[in-house]
């Protein structure tokens, strides 16, 4: 009989080509995210996400381009159920029905496709916080902090079986047998058992407090509010991830400053004029009351559109900042100027006369500047990072 059809079933369990190439693709996604971090950090979807959620980040560079027609400019063909008419709408703006994880979506501009990668906020945060730390941190005596690490670095003869150190146990058994004359492993008894045990790893950390100040006055437009929120979102996340015991004090201000809780800080939208000195004064008061500089590393940050109430107050601010610089490790000021418009009388120009390495100022003109600002403020390598 000649060969016609045959059927077989083999063991494919060692076949792994697909998963290997998939891993390479995932690696490329990570690289692309890292490259586009500045864009991604200020994505609205991210700063409104909470917890360990998976966020979708658009990456443009990961699609292999080829010559193709622009589907939005050209007609395509489809099939109806028998009674379609000219003018029937067959779908909204999405180019294709999107399956979960299918990872392709039409951009709002014709012909621009984004590949959407999925990443958890924690993974993203790890990328953002690489190399960041509190600058000029000093050892201020009173150590309060433990980091929750434990290290298994001791051996005992008693302990829970789950912590049994098998290697040492066998060695002990061999040693005992050898003492009896035959060097073989076997007949393990209770004397041979060795257990790993832990000691808490107490690391001393220095005290630090961050005073986050935010301008909520009427002159702060949507963009300015958005940027300051975005920056503080990452800052708070960063501090909580890296430092267990850094305290954060939240201050908002318009013509008056007040200390608020975290939620109010992020959600408050007020209006009115701007008197920045009120916030700085409050910050100084808080420091003097609660955080004696001898014991605390102090980091005030302030975000504003720089639109302050006249030269007089600018001068007052300058004096207060000078005062703070004597007791703080770093003073960070971010001025948000949408599209780079500049008025001459901003706070930044007043601060230009400050010639103190502990003063760090950035101007933010677009969403992409948020990440460089974070990197500048929290660079532990001195002033090496240029913005």
């Amino acid at each position: 009989m000649t060969f016609t059809v045959s059927l077989s079933k083999q063991d494919w369990s060692l076949h792994r080509k697909g998963p290997i190439d998939q891993a390479r693709h995932n690696q490329k996604v990570k690289e692309a995210i890292k490259k586009n971090l500045a864009d991604i950090v200020s994505e609205e979807a991210i700063i409104t996400a909470d917890g360990n959620k998976v966020v979708k980040v658009p990456i443009r560079s990961l699609d292999l381009p080829h010559f193709r027609f622009d589907n939005r400019r050209n007609q395509q063909s489809g099939q109806g159920n028998g009674n379609s008419k000219v003018g029937d709408v067959i779908g909204g703006s999405d180019q294709q029905g999107q399956g979960p994880g299918k990872g392709r979506k039409a951009g709002d501009q014709a012909g621009i496709d984004y590949y959407e990668a999925e990443i958890t906020l924690d993974e993203l945060a790890a990328l953002v916080f690489e190399d960041l730390g509190l600058p000029n941190l000093e050892d201020k005596g009173k150590a309060e902090v433990t980091s929750p690490d434990v290290r298994f670095n001791e051996i005992r003869k008693h302990g829970p079986m789950s912590n049994l150190d098998k290697r040492r146990t066998l060695l002990e058994n061999l040693r005992r047998n050898a003492r009896d004359g035959h060097a073989v492993v076997g007949g393990v008894n209770n004397d041979d058992l060795r257990f790993k045990t832990w000691v808490p790893d107490i690391r001393q950390e220095t005290n630090a407090v961050v005073i986050a100040m935010r301008d909520v006055s009427g002159s702060m437009g949507e963009f300015e509010k958005y940027i300051s929120r975005s920056f503080y979102f990452w800052m708070v996340r960063f501090l909580r991830t890296k430092y267990d015991h850094v305290q954060i004090v939240f201050v908002t201000h318009h013509t008056e400053a007040k200390e608020v809780d975290e939620e109010a800080f992020f959600n408050l939208g007020e209006s009115g004029g701007t008197k920045v000195s009120s916030a700085y004064q409050l910050a100084l008061d808080i420091i003097n009351d609660r955080y004696p500089p001898a014991l605390w590393n102090i980091y005030p940050f302030h975000f504003s559109d720089g639109d302050n109430w006249g030269e007089v107050d600018n001068q007052r601010c300058l004096d207060l900042v000078r005062q703070m610089l004597t007791i703080c490790n770093l003073f960070g000021y971010g001025e948000i100027q949408e599209g780079g418009r500049r008025s001459i009388s901003t706070l930044m120009s007043a601060f230009q006369h400050l010639d103190d390495p502990k003063f760090s100022g950035v101007t933010i003109t677009s969403k992409e500047d948020v990440l460089p600002a974070l990197r500048k403020f929290f660079s532990t390598r001195g002033e090496a990072v240029a913005v």
């Binding site: 077989s8 083999q10 292999l64 395509q76 099939q79 709408v89 067959i90 012909g111 621009i112």
Partner: protein, 472 residues
């Protein structure tokens, strides 16, 4: 599937083979491998088992796998055009589902064996792609993984631009390379008395390529000056694999329709118990479900095949009189069509007004944030579908000049036929071509009725808008 089920399936496969033979189709001998779903996704992603590693394959794998895991779609079968044919069945399909797949696969296998467009394909492609994969893997060792990957990225971005018919060149009779020289005689000097210099005979026009060349990969592999041997080798390998896929892209509707036509008829012959028959009917219906956003090749293909058979079996009086159809020739006709046509000619010749209306085909377009049906006239619908088949739905790009500006720059031209290019993608693709060619590259196309030339010189991209093109 357990062993008992495997045995049942194997027996059924033999019956299906006999029925298929009796009905007149003549497939390659076919080997079926029952594989787990992960292996099926993988082969689906790579096109052929064992192809070279690349992240785009990994991405395709992930996408197919996700679709399957969420229950959104599944691949039922995969068949490789080879002799003997090599097909895969899903392990966790029911026996009945796999019977249907076996019947379907024999339809494909018959098509591979007899359709004219498959005549030139290698029937040992499975072996060849694994040789390629091994060689590429070796290059990764020699030159670094990232280097090879980057190069592959560039080659793959233009992999569709090959010429499956290098022998079908236009010959205009005149030898293009023969220069026209004025006759030389002993009295020539008299004609030029008084003038300072005798005019030189016109230099022969030497162009590379002499005629516009469609095969970008081949041209670059042959004429690219910056390429190393291993890079040329990779281009040739990718081109060879792509050539293998061309007939499948050209006959998607015919081939799927043909397989559906035969699985339907074979399954009817199997005397299935009623329950199985219901399951089969449900499965068949789900495969044939039309899509509002695209053409379902199974459905449209099957309908056209059945329509051809009907019209040749029972021609109308007019057809009998004018076209001389005698009736009862349906089977003979479909077997003839399956040998001679590809999708483009298949639709042009056999997608009739009645079929367009019955299938409710239409054209749609993006208007004001929505996709709207804009055309139902059958000829226009057919022509747009056909346009999508021209050059496998890819823009037709030719090399106009491989020594542009006498500076070895590459000048490409998009043969514009009414469809605009995606300019963002064109720009990014041009960068990839630059990486292969090593010198400045240009692409001429038409956008908003004006000639546009995109240029990339390795650092900057420029766009030059030229004169308006005649209204189309």
């Amino acid at each position: 599937m357990n062993n008992a089920e495997l045995a049942e399936l194997e027996k059924a496969a033999e019956r299906i083979w006999d029925i298929a033979q009796r009905m007149g189709i003549d497939p390659f001998p076919t080997h079926f491998d029952v594989v787990p779903a992960t292996i099926m996704y993988e082969f689906g992603a790579y096109g052929i088992p064992g192809r070279f590693s690349h992240w785009t394959h990994g991405r395709a794998y992930q996408q197919i796998k996700t679709m399957y895991d969420y229950g959104l779609s599944r691949i039922y079968e995969l068949v490789i055009n080879a002799d003997p044919a090599y097909a895969f069945l899903l392990e966790n399909n029911s026996v009945l589902q796999n019977k249907l797949v076996v019947a379907h696969v024999l339809g494909h296998s018959d098509f591979f064996k007899h359709n004219a467009y498959f005549k030139g394909t290698s029937r040992q492609m499975v072996e060849m792609v694994s040789v390629h994969a091994e060689r590429i893997h070796r290059y990764e060792f020699e030159h670094g993984r990232e280097t090879v990957e980057e190069f592959l990225d560039s080659v793959l971005s233009i992999q569709e631009h090959i010429d499956p018919y290098p022998n079908l060149r236009r010959r205009d009779g005149a030898e293009p390379d023969k220069p026209v020289r004025p006759r030389e005689t002993a009295y020539d000097d008299l004609f030029y008395l008084g003038s300072e210099k005798r005019p030189e005979p016109p230099a022969p026009v030497r162009k590379t390529p002499p005629e516009p060349e469609k095969d970008l990969l081949l041209f670059i592999a042959q004429h690219g000056r910056e390429l190393e041997d291993w890079q040329r080798d990779i281009i040739h390998m990718i081109r060879q694999e792509q050539l293998y896929f061309v007939p499948q892209m050209q006959t998607k509707i015919m081939n799927e329709g043909w397989a559906a036509y035969w699985h339907l008829r074979i399954m009817r012959e199997l005397d299935l118990p009623q329950n199985d028959y219901m399951e089969f009917a449900g499965l068949h219906a789900s495969v044939l479900a039309p899509s509002r956003r695209s053409i379902n090749p199974y459905h449209v293909g099957l309908k056209i095949w059945e329509d051809i058979e009907r019209r040749w079996d029972e021609p109308s009086d007019e057809e009998r009189e004018k076209l001389g159809r005698r009736g009862g020739e349906g089977k003979a006709k479909i077997f003839e069509v399956r040998e001679l046509e590809n999708d483009a000619s298949f639709l042009r010749n056999y997608l009739t007004k009645e079929l367009v209306e019955e299938l409710d085909l239409y054209l749609y377009k993006y208007e004001n944030g929505k996709w709207v049906i804009v055309e139902k006239d059958w000829e226009k619908v057919r022509d747009v579908i056909l346009r999508g088949m021209t050059n496998f739905g890819q823009p037709y790009i030719v090399i106009e000049d491989g020594d542009y500006h006498r500076n070895h720059e590459l000048f490409l031209r998009h043969c514009y036929e009414g469809q605009d290019l995606d300019m963002d993608y064109a720009d990014r693709t041009l960068r990839h071509i630059h990486r292969l060619w090593g010198r400045t590259v240009h692409l001429e196309t038409v956008l908003d009725d004006k000639t546009v030339v995109l240029t990339f010189d390795g650092e900057r991209a420029r766009t030059k808008v030229g004169e308006a093109v005649q209204a189309r």
